[in-house]
Amino acid sequence: MDTERPVDDLLRSASRELDRAAAAVAGGAPPAAELGGVRRRAVQRRRVGVAAAVLALVAGAAVVAWRVSPPDAPSLIFDAPAGDEGAEDGEAPESAADPDADPGPGDADAGVGQAGPGADDDSGTEVREVIRLPAEGWQVPTALASDPAGRFVVVGVTVDDADAGAARPAVWVGEDGSWLRAGGQVAESGAEAGEAAVHMTGVASDPDGSFAAVGFTDTVAAGTRPLAWRSDNGERWDSATLPDEAGSAEAVTWTGEAFVAVGAAERGSAVWTSPDGRAWSAVTFAGERGLAAEGILVDVLEYGGRLVLIEQVGDSSRLLAAEPAERGAAWQLREIDSFAGSLARLTGDQETGTLYAAGSQRPDGLGSEPLLLTSGDGQSWDREAIGWDGADHHDAGLHDAAVAGRVLVVAGTADGLPRLWARDPTGDARAAELPEGAGAPPLLAPATDGVLVVGTVEDGAEAHFGVWHWELPDRTGR
């Protein structure tokens, strides 16, 4: 399969083929006046199909005591375009333009978020807006890091034209509560302006306050290629070169001795390392099971001198442990565990040594739910339930996790809306929503008395960069 074409081209080709096929099929559609009779024949056809399956089973060698009921007339799952989300099977749909539709949850006042009904009390639920930076186009923050001096750097993309999938790199820098956008300073690593979609996906800082960022470019001519950048201060960036011509870089971290970036290349999952963010080399591995040829590494975390990696392979994820070696030598690699679902982010509590992995899972193949895994030793993992608000969200997942003081915080989306959830060591949990208009999966960073939440604020056809602070008092008495 030619996966080097942008997905937009593939979808348009598929749509043209779909249209030609539909034209042929639609030619046999009944006239409007006969639609009622068509319904009766369709129900009968389904009943015959199920009955035939039952007869085939009964006629086989094994007789199964199993009763099959003909399916009911299809129930309508209300997918409310506006307001009333989560209605159950059997409810009739409301018009998409229903003027009486419930505007939905959330407080209309900017900067104040409402906790879900599962919150213990009102304290620790306020999400306060710090800043929003209006800009043309639609901003998508994708990763953030902070240096030892407390300067935050957020990387992402600006999408100007959803139809073409064009994207250009964007960087925002925050210090002492002040934020600015530094996107105009990012070198585009050789990609021709206007021809490429350039994405920044990860950023990390070393102890000297230098930053390394990674991402990829997607062009019709060159396909997808991993990219890297380096900056002394987060505002002015220079391009660096990763030693692979195809693939993508998804995340980067500082190990204490070097930057380590992860992603995928032609060979499958890939890892690169650099002492300074300028010169990168590919890592080779030794071990019982190598990296997946059809996988992609999406996050990496330093833990006790080793690296923990998330590798996505299809609908499953693997947690891997890698032990760095001297320059040029193969690293040791072993699998820790594998899970159904897409894990996205690793974080850890440095004080207790507890590790967390966050993502999403699709238990029935449709819809998704949050997936949060916890480990005290990096070897055995347990699943922890997320109680956002007690509702059964059909489309939910976690995108980021952080430990602020002793409090675990996760961020994600449910039914398209950004959500936050926090749990302290006593087990007390609380949830919060970002103010109305907030979009994009939020990112988290530990901050004074809580976390910084980075995301977007939608304003018509644009999405502006936004930062909020969620106050999370530590109730453990420390």
Binding site: M1, D2, T3, P6, V7, L10, L11, S13, A14, S15, E17, L18, D19, A21, A22, A23, V25, A26, A29, P31, A32, A33, L35, G36, R39, A42, V50, A53, W66, P74, S75, L76, D79, P81, G83, P93, S95, A96, A97, W138, V159, G165, T224, A264, A293, G295, I296, Q312, V313, D315, D364, G365, L366, G367, S368, D395, G439, G460, A461, A463
Partner: protein, 167 residues
């Protein structure tokens, strides 16, 4: 009455092919897509006496809901049948083989709202604004959903570039 019948016939003629395509994207087969599309219009007909403010959006939402409901039921039935016979190769509809069919398989595997946005924008050839109106959200949200959906599709297609469906 005659006027209502005439207006519905026009609505049906103008929108049937689009709704059929949407149903196919989510159901994966033409026969079931026809059933779903026609069921959606039957339901629209039952509400045609002035109850539908935006019938074009209503019938599309209905078709998508029906398709997803039908797919869930077929998957449940497949799982039940697997208890009594060797497992089927897949619980998913059998698209005809081909690169472009894999694209629609990848769309079906997206989170619900991403799949809806991608299907409405590409399969139904609607503008971002029209998609936003149907989904009842801001245009920026639609752009976000399209962006996220395309990335997931790229990841899925890349993971199956070896010819095997690893999902």
């Amino acid at each position: 009455m005659a006027e209502e019948t005439s207006s519905f016939s026009a609505f049906y003629g103008e929108n049937y092919r689009s709704v059929l395509k949407l149903a196919y994207v989510f159901a994966g087969g033409w026969q079931v897509a026809e059933d779903i599309a026609q069921e959606a219009f039957v339901r629209a007909l039952s509400c045609w006496d002035g109850q539908l403010i935006a019938p074009e959006a209503w019938v599309r939402v209905t078709a998508v809901n029906l398709a997803r409901s039908r797919l869930r039921r077929r998957q449940a039935e497949s799982r039940a049948l697997e208890r009594a016979r060797p497992p089927a190769d897949s619980c998913e509809p059998a698209d005809p083989p081909g690169e472009l069919s894999r694209v629609w398989q990848a769309v079906r595997r997206l989170p619900k709202r991403q799949a809806q946005a991608v299907a409405l924008h590409y399969a139904d050839d609607l503008s971002v604004g029209d998609v936003a109106a149907i989904m009842g959200c801001a245009e920026g949200t639609v752009k976000a959903l399209l962006h996220q959906g395309r990335r997931r599709i790229a990841a899925q297609l890349g993971a199956s570039a070896g010819g095997e469906d690893g999902h």
